[in-house]
């Protein structure tokens, strides 16, 4: 890669402005096409039969009656998706999650599927499939699942990461540990120690668009998949591997995506749709219902976390320790590991230790949800930090400033930080008018910090210059919230042209090289880096063509503000050539002009945020109301500030829902009781106030413009900030998320009863 990604401190003319997004009109007129908005000739309707049991052996499946129903064109079970994963355990789990092979592992686990000429017949056909289950004992609670008496979900799993190899199978798949120093020594030095246990319930990403795809497999082994996804290249790999297709012959087109937040990062029903299409010999559209989305896709981990933090009288933290238990659903994951890495990442600690346990439960396979695993760890740690500040008699912000990580601090998860934003966000919060605003009766104010790693990864971009001087930018990272606008700004900046001359699209898997998915807040970070590189490659060609047009050496041509300029007094009579001038002559100077770039975007700068919120609690009902909310976060450089604000506000709103309302509720029978938006209540417009934002810009040294990812960090502080606010309002430390009215009342009652 002939590209220098270092931050240069340039002055911007396009980046940092707020133009209208290129896909705006399509989206306000209903023309934008999402997963379920695409149709093919001869298309069938696919539907999935799901287990009503939390844990059951599938003894037999009789599909004969369904197959005989007029209008049914294919019925499949796991037999139609043979195991081609060749020892790849993670892919095997994705396969088994797509279609249960020997056991149903959660309420909602797919066991069979049909393709029929319409939805009505498909639904009838599902009722004709006879599944003989042997129901097994189940476990859905993370702490209960760790008990050695708990039903074993997978008897081939032995806990990894223990000093001695275990001889008995366990629901704990892995133990991980991070930290440095000696926490025993550190706690011995402490004057004050806070030690508490916390729980958080399972939540769903809650994207408004259910999973949807149209799959078409041809007899010659070629196939097309139209799908809402955060990563169509990843979906292509998954599906090709699971179906035994050649990746290059499977063309995956990402539709507009109606929200993902991590929940559309691996395949669910797409292999099923492809298998149905292969069997039926016709295209198949498969759209999940909302009930299926809740029961069988998404959710985040439920957690149980113990935290212990000690400090001296002067407010210096001497030791910090946490044990984190995260549910993974029925398949191994690394969710507690991520929680253990992020838990104390905001602080400069001499002695720190975190231990994570990954725990199997009979719930849907845990998927990433915006800064996955970090919000729960932050809830526990930032609650304890607040409590410790209170015991020390210190202001909660000052206590955090005193212990905040800085450039050069060794992070609790290993690396040494470069320039970071935790200190500046705390200082901004300290000086924010929100912190000084008066509170009324029954109101409390809380604040909390959050950290997220951010990610870069494999990225590929094509930039093509039309003969009319317009520029098309083809990127491979799915646009989840305005990245086509931000990437157009970056291309306009680098080329020195106007934003209106550009049009960015998301290319399909056959039109562009491999791209990692839009996750880890990487979309704008990594694709902007590749866009800058592609634009610089195009500029080299533009200079060369200008040199040809002038018949002078290319080394005498520079590119400034969208023009080729002949450098030197001897060229004084040559007037600058615009990109448009050069493009118009491209047919006679060497053909089309394009810039391509493929790179691994290393150096995603870590991200920090600090949030403030005011909550009012009704002591009689336990009902809560968010009165005021402020987000302060480091963006590195905000490419399109309006959409950066949008990321801050959206993450905060999701965190508010998580903190106050949202939770998966399972019955004793192991069935999900609230699989719909009526009973799983995400925040609505009347639940929230305006969400104020303050963007800080501490440049990321590893990006030419200083950009950091901004998408995820905003969901990390809210659980803790709100818990601190509620605790301050009612005078009782809240330790269980969500803080629904019954939980708040129970906490108040427990306090009264002493």
């Amino acid at each position: 890669m002939n590209f220098d990604p270092r931050f240069t401190g340039r002055k911007f003319s396009s980046v940092g402005t707020r133009p209208l997004r290129p896909d705006g009109i399509d989206k306000v007129t209903g023309r934008a096409r999402y997963g379920a908005d695409f149709n093919m000739a001869g298309q069938l309707v696919g539907r999935v039969l799901r287990s009503p049991h939390a844990h059951a052996v599938i003894k037999s499946i009789d599909t004969s009656k369904a197959e005989k129903l007029a209008g049914v064109k294919a019925v499949i079970t796991a037999k139609d998706l043979p195991d081609l994963t060749d020892g790849d355990a993670a892919m095997y789990d994705i396969l088994d999650n797509s279609m249960a092979r020997t056991k149903a592992l959660y309420d909602g686990h797919a066991v069979a599927a049909v393709a029929a000429i319409d939805a009505r017949i498909a639904r009838q056909a599902l009722k004709l499939i006879e599944v003989d289950y042997e129901v097994l004992p189940h476990v859905t609670d993370v702490d209960e699942a760790m008990n050695h008496h708990a039903p074993l979900i997978n008897d081939a799993i032995f806990t990894e990461g223990l000093e001695e190899k275990p001889v008995k199978a366990s629901n704990v798949t892995k133990r991980t540990q991070f930290g440095h120093g000696d926490v025993h020594k550190g706690f011995a030095q402490a004057d004050f120690i806070v030690e508490r246990s916390f729980k958080t319930e399972q939540t769903h990403q809650g994207y408004i668009e259910p999973h949807a795809c149209v799959a078409s497999v041809n007899p010659d082994g070629t196939a097309d998949l139209w799908v809402c996804t955060q990563g169509h290249f990843v979906y292509r790999q998954h599906c090709a591997q699971l179906l035994g297709l050649e990746a290059s012959k499977l063309r995956v087109t990402s539709s507009e995506i109606g929200g993902g937040f991590g929940g559309k990062t691996h395949v669910w029903a797409e292999p099923v749709a492809l298998a149905l299409s292969r069997k039926a010999g016709r295209p198949v559209k498969l759209v999940m219902t909302r009930d299926e989305v809740f029961r069988a896709s998404g959710p985040t981990s439920a957690t149980s976390i113990d935290v212990k933090i000690g400090a001296t009288k002067d407010g210096t933290i001497t030791a910090a320790e946490a044990t984190l238990r995260y549910s993974c659903g029925p398949y191994p994951g690394s969710w507690a590991e991520i929680g253990a890495m992020t838990a104390f990442a905001c602080y400069n600690l001499e002695n720190v230790k975190t231990v994570g346990f990954e725990v199997l439960v009979n719930r849907p396979k845990t998927a990433a949800y915006r800064a996955p695993s970090a919000p729960m760890a932050a809830f526990a740690v930032e609650s304890a930090v607040d409590e410790l500040a209170h015991e020390l008699g210190m202001n909660a912000v000052d206590f955090r400033i005193k212990n905040a990580a800085q450039e050069g601090t060794r992070a609790s998860y290993g690396p040494v930080y470069g320039p970071i934003g935790i200190g500046p966000t705390l200082e901004a919060v300290k000086n924010h008018p929100h912190m000084k605003a008066p509170l009324k009766a029954n109101q409390g104010r809380g604040m909390a910090c959050g950290f997220w790693f951010n990610f870069g990864g494999q990225t590929c971009v094509d930039l093509n210059i039309g003969m009319d001087g317009s520029v098309s930018l083809a990127v491979g990272t799915v646009d989840v919230g305005g990245s086509r606008a931000s990437l157009s700004l970056v291309a306009a900046e680098e080329l020195g042209i106007d934003y209106s001359q550009l049009k960015a699209i998301v290319a399909d898997t056959s039109s562009l090289g491999y791209n990692d998915m839009t996750d880890g807040s990487r979309g704008t970070f990594s694709s902007s880096m590749a866009t800058i590189s592609a634009a610089r490659n195009a500029i080299k060609i533009l200079r060369d063509r200008a040199a040809q047009m002038w018949d002078i050496p290319v080394d005498d041509v520079v590119w400034e503000k969208g023009h080729a300029i002949a450098k030197g007094e001897k060229y004084g009579n040559l007037s600058a050539l615009s990109l448009k001038d050069i493009a118009a002559k491209s047919g006679t100077t060497g053909g089309p002009i394009a810039g391509h770039s493929e790179l691994v975007a290393d150096g995603a700068g870590v991200s920090f945020a600090t949030h403030i919120c005011d909550i009012e609690v009704d002591p009689e009902t336990g009902a809560t109301r968010v009165i005021r909310y402020t987000v302060v976060q480091d963006a590195g450089k905000a490419v399109h500030p309006t959409y950066v604000e949008g990321q801050y506000q959206g993450g905060a709103a999701q965190g508010i829902g998580w903190a106050l309302n949202e939770e998966y509720i399972y019955g004793k029978d192991g069935r999900l009781q609230n699989a719909g938006f009526l009973d799983y209540r995400i925040p609505v417009c009347s639940d929230l106030p305006m969400i104020d934002t303050q963007i800080l810009e501490i440049p990321n040294p590893n990006h030419p413009y200083g950009v950091r990812g901004v998408g995820e960090t905003s969901i990390v502080p809210p659980l803790a900030a709100i818990a601190n606010a509620v605790s301050n309002a009612v005078g009782v430390r809240m330790t269980h998320i969500p803080m629904s009215p019954p939980r708040i009342l129970a906490a108040l009652d427990a306090e009264r009863e002493g």
Binding site: G24, Y34, A119, G258, T642, E645, G676, L688
Partner: protein, 158 residues
């Protein structure tokens, strides 16, 4: 199963279709008429993504039968702009970045249009309660409320 013959008006155009008695208006719009601007987010009337206006009344089209559209006037997102002239709400949603993924946007626009037709000068609280039947998971609603406030101001001035 015998189909039901329906004559209705959609976005000002006379439309006829056959549908099954248990088919929703949303299914008819999307699958029979190709009007995919209305989205199915839940199918149970909880998310508002399928909002349309029937005879001046804001409804979730997933809770209305296709057969019930007989003789009525249905307004969908596809009819909101006049030719190439966006409705002020559409324009303000783009200007304020009141959408990120955009899946809820058609429903919000229809609901906001209905709100402003009934209450041209809503307070922030009236906007928030007026749009409480529409779920958005991306924006936190801040920019949606501002877009509606701005559109209301523009429409009053017009």
């Amino acid at each position: 199963m015998a189909g039901v013959a329906v004559s209705t008006t959609i976005n000002g155009d006379a439309v006829e279709y056959l549908c099954q008695p248990d088919e929703t208006l949303l299914e008819v719009l999307r699958d029979r008429l190709g009007l995919t601007g209305a989205k199915e987010g839940c199918g149970t009337g909880d998310c508002g993504a399928c909002s349309v206006i029937v005879d001046g009344r804001l409804v979730c089209s997933c809770l209305v039968l296709g057969a019930e559209a007989e003789g009525r006037k249905v307004e969908t997102i596809e009819g909101m702009a006049h030719g190439d002239q966006l409705h002020p709400l559409q324009q303000k949603f783009i200007e304020h970045a009141a959408l990120q993924c955009g899946i809820c946007t058609p429903g919000f626009l229809i609901a906001a249009k209905d709100l402003l037709e009934k209450n041209p000068s809503p307070t922030e609280e009236e906007i928030r309660f007026g749009l409480a039947g529409n779920l958005c998971r991306c924006t936190g609603y801040d920019k949606i409320v501002r877009a509606v406030q701005d559109a209301a101001a523009v429409m009053k001035g017009a």
